[in-house]
Subunit: 356 residues, 2 copies
């Protein structure tokens, strides 16, 4: 789901107005003066199941910035779970990172008690700024937590390989739909960002016969792809102009914008990054240019499926099978977008709403 | 508890800042676009037990006005339960009254589901703007509700007789402390407001031998007191200037202010109204003038004790015994205030804080 950010100020600055606008739901706040905890848990929808969503721990300019972030992201989680046919609702937590942090373990334990008080309506997970160790601290206070360090049925706290796989399945679906080709033999994929997820993706598509071009701010990461997969390496913004079949944004958000879209030569975009479209309207711009865009919240759903599997103590095999089925979900979105002459991001949102 | 309202705007306008300032606690928000419900439940403290507090259903100028009201009142409930030695925490709910109300029963049912989702951390009750019928609608969705129409062990939803009794016990304690007299024989009590609570108080003190002066905006209410108890009747602000032993505000809040205090001839103030002191500092002004003020949140605690008894299915007898013990609570406050040379309202707050 993409949300444009130019809503009326009166709506943006009022909790009830903004919640109503996003069709909430519930919001829960906890303040603890002893540890300095200031946390907000946003639960957008519980219709499909408990709300599993990450816990952001970053600095915010204001309380309303933090609350809006929680609400916007929670709604995104509802859509993601719905379109991917997961039995999960949509929720997200934000914790305002204090200027001076005291005992971090005690801090996250109090957050764990807060999560526990909601009796499983919300299940927390690692997100920007929070760590596996934080999840372990939370787990001393509540069972409603995932992405801990504890191994369960071969699943550990690292979702990267699962996200890599969901992006790979997205590329396979898009290549099938757009080029009529089964498998990735001879397909040229340009990956922006080859950290944990991008590297795993490079490995997978290489094994399926694709050729690679990669970029990353870290030269060691690109070097490894060159050595192991024979990838071409380009610097910085050159990745947008690579003459390839698939462009795969696996680093930053908002990389599909007015500046970059005219540069792209790829006919397919499938990546792991969150919020790839700078604005909702960029989905329409891509459609007009004949570029097939796979909505990011479907293609990177491997991470959520991993967290859900860890929480439900199901196996890696089950999680991987669930991720594999995203192929069919995406074909459904592509089909309907073509039939209705609409951008894929809007079609995905509409299909998610039908399931909510 | 009295809270001055001139806090820094930056604190007042920020949920986390204001909550931290009031030493919260938790806040929960629910939005339901179908019924139009916009509700906030503030839980200040759970240390002594579940947070029992009323549900206000009134129009607010803004969301933050409503949220601040909930937080301020919830903190007051914490103090009230603590000073009265009740095994309750402190909480309050506010619902923003919509301009156009649809199906009221459905509206309060959704609120009931919201209350239920907190699993008994908060127990709701009737308050300004909400009715017994609303509580009955809530009760179809949750067990965490009191002041319903259902009779339990002779206790029904009307707390007035219990509040009358707690005020009466307050007058007895103050007369004992200040005048050294046991019982109210010959004591002159001036009651401002003889609605349900004030009338019940008039009846009680009359039976104990007191003489009465009463005022009310409703002439039928004063007439009844004149006929049944031989009460003198005065109009409007004349009640402040009655040459009596006890002034008992049982109508409006903030009646002890810079304008009224110089008019008072009574040496004792004990009433049922909430927030009788316009500002915290008016407690000190009364002390300097030698007036014994019984903190309102103790003297009107009969209502809370009634709600708690109804919720816990205990008997009227048990509730009345508990109310009777407020006599000792007040003597403790009066003693310490005299020893420390401090106003009774500040001493009561300090004693409540020691129990929180």
């Amino acid at each position: 789901m993409t949300t444009d950010t130019n809503q009326d100020k009166a709506i943006r600055d009022d909790i009830f107005e903004y919640a109503s606008y996003l069709e909430f739901g519930e919001l829960h706040f906890k303040v603890d003066n002893t540890t300095g905890l200031r946390a907000c848990i946003a639960i957008h929808s519980l219709k499909r199941g408990p709300a599993l969503g990450g816990c952001r721990f970053i600095e915010y300019g204001s309380t309303m910035d933090a609350v809006r972030d929680a609400m916007r992201l929670a709604k995104g989680m509802s859509y993601k779970a719905a379109i991917c046919d997961l039995t999960l609702g949509g929720g997200k937590a934000v914790i305002m990172k204090p200027a001076n942090m005291g005992d971090r373990e005690a801090f996250f334990k109090v957050f764990g008690q807060f999560v526990d008080s909601l009796n499983g309506r919300y299940i927390t997970a690692k997100d920007s700024g929070s760590s596996t160790a934080d999840m372990d601290a939370i787990a001393t206070e509540t069972a409603y937590v995932t992405s801990t360090s504890k191994m369960e049925n071969g699943l550990n706290g690292d979702p990267s390989p699962f996200t890599s796989y969901s992006v790979c399945r997205g590329i396979e679906a898009a290549v099938q739909f757009k080029l009529g080709q089964t498998g990735l033999n001879g397909i040229h994929v340009a990956i922006q960002g080859v950290g944990a997820v991008g590297y795993g993706l490079a490995k997978r598509v290489h094994e399926l016969g694709a050729t690679l071009t990669v970029s990353d701010i870290n030269p060691e990461s690109t070097q490894r792809c060159a050595q192991e997969f024979g990838a071409q390496v380009v610097e910085g913004d050159a990745i947008y102009q690579v003459d390839c079949d698939v462009f795969s944004p696996c680093a930053l958000g908002a990389v599909l914008n007015d500046d970059t879209i005219p540069l792209l030569k790829a006919g397919i975009i499938v990546g792991a990054a969150n919020n790839q479209l700078a604005r909702t309207r960029h989905g329409e711009i891509l459609r007009e240019r004949g570029v097939l865009y796979a909505p990011d919240y479907i293609t990177n759903a491997g991470g959520l499926i991993h967290a859900s599997a860890q929480y439900h103590k199901s196996s890696e095999k089950t999680a991987m099978e669930q991720i594999s089925r995203l192929y069919g979900v995406l074909l459904g979105v592509f089909d309907r977008a073509e039939q209705d002459g609409k951008p894929t991001n809007e079609v995905a949102d509409a299909m998610a709403e039908e399931k909510l």
